[in-house]
């Protein structure tokens, strides 16, 4: 199994790994890294707003969320490859083996739990970006809006993966949580984008 420490890769190598094959990093890792980019943008905007008293605290939060997102990018890669291997085993096996089906289901659920966390981080970053956009130096407001848009995109992608990986109905609380995160992120981004046009 390949390494999922994406921070250790050069950017070009990471991009090649994404486009190489059907293995990780895939959509989940890419959405987590998008959220991480957005978090770092928020940190930059806050850092460039010295007149804002709470800027230092916002930088610390944005960096903490960014680190979590990078960690989740690796975790998603590992979970997805494990689920994929189980899926291939199940396809290669003859007949219906209930134990194998149960194991596969467990691995797919594990693969869905990471995007659920990514969606929540996306909502947090979009919220933080909105707060930052309201208080930052005017010159950097557009960057805050860009961060909110990226975070909302990451949250939406992650929520979509939760739905697909679980194959669930609308009543599943995990999907409801993912969709709530997506909505929070989208609303924050739309509000900020609207005010910076």
């Amino acid at each position: 199994m390949t390494s999922h420490d994406y921070l250790a890769l050069r950017l070009e190598e990471l991009l090649d790994r994404i486009s190489d094959d059907g293995l990780a990093p895939g959509g989940g890792s890419a959405s987590a890294l998008t959220v991480a980019f957005a978090a770092r943008l928020v940190a930059m905007v806050a850092r460039c707003s010295p007149d804002w008293q709470e800027a230092g605290g916002i930088v610390a939060q944005a960096n903490a969320i960014g680190e979590r997102a990078v960690h989740l990018a690796g975790a998603d890669g590992r979970a997805w490859e494990t689920a994929l291997a189980a899926l291939r085993d199940a396809e290669a096996a003859d007949g219906d083996d209930p134990r194998r089906s149960f194991a596969l289901e467990q691995k797919l659920e594990a693969a869905a739990s990471v995007p659920l966390e990514i969606a929540a981080l996306g909502a947090d970053v979009a919220t933080l970006a909105a707060e930052t956009g309201d208080n930052c130096e005017a010159t950097y407001r557009a960057d805050a809006a860009a961060a909110a848009a990226l975070a909302a995109g990451g949250a939406a992608a992650a929520a979509h993966l939760v739905r697909v990986n679980l194959g669930v109905r609308g009543s599943d609380p995990r999907l409801a949580n993912a969709l709530a995160s997506e909505q929070t992120a989208r609303e924050s981004a739309e509000r900020l984008l609207e005010t910076t046009r």
Partner: protein
């Protein structure tokens, strides 16, 4: 919680000097993780060696507390005793021949700095309001999302980031101008 738990370091030292058993229990409780952290993270000692250092350091603290000139400086004093004892352990196992601080590698020195910093933050954190301690712990230590924090504390989600930022500002003030 014992009556000694809320005392400052200097007050605690005075209580220990007076021979109060609660004071000694609190002193060990307050500094035990610090001593372990220096031994394990700073000097990479194993569990057994760290336990030896721990026993030896607190024996020295017990027998030499009267030699401490400034009661409020008990933490750096314990840190110094611990570092010296750790260097003795390293020298005795032949990994290092000298017993001066200069023998520490760059990495070990950096780890020691992190240990010191972590404990300084922990101490400053303890001086903040319960509300601030709680919200910082939830966000930075338990990795809770703004929504989870808002739901559990029953406060509006849009105010969480600001509250955390204000608490961090207070923590920074408590840590002093060098941070």
């Amino acid at each position: 919680m014992s009556k000694a738990a809320g005392l400052t370091d200097a007050e605690l030292v005075r209580l220990c000097r007076a021979g109060d058993p609660d004071g000694w229990n609190e002193l060990v409780e307050r500094f035990s993780r610090y001593v372990y952290a220096i031994a394990v993270r700073g000097f990479r000692l194993g569990d057994e060696e760290a336990e030896d250092v721990f026993q030896d350091v607190f024996t020295r603290v017990y027998t030499r507390l009267d030699t401490l000139r400034d009661d409020s400086a008990v933490r750096p004093w314990i840190a110094q005793l611990t570092r010296r004892r750790c260097l003795d352990v390293l020298a005795s196992r032949g990994r290092e021949t000298a017993v001066e601080e200069e023998v520490l590698t760059h990495e070990e020195t950096a780890d020691l700095g992190e240990v010191e910093e972590a404990f300084a933050v922990r101490e400053a954190l303890a001086g903040l309001s319960d509300t601030c301690q709680d919200i910082l712990d939830r966000f930075f230590a338990r990795d809770q999302s703004y929504k989870t924090i808002a739901d559990e504390l029953e406060i509006p989600p849009g105010t969480i980031a600001s509250r955390i930022a204000r608490c961090l500002g207070r923590l920074k003030d408590a840590l002093g101008p060098e941070t």
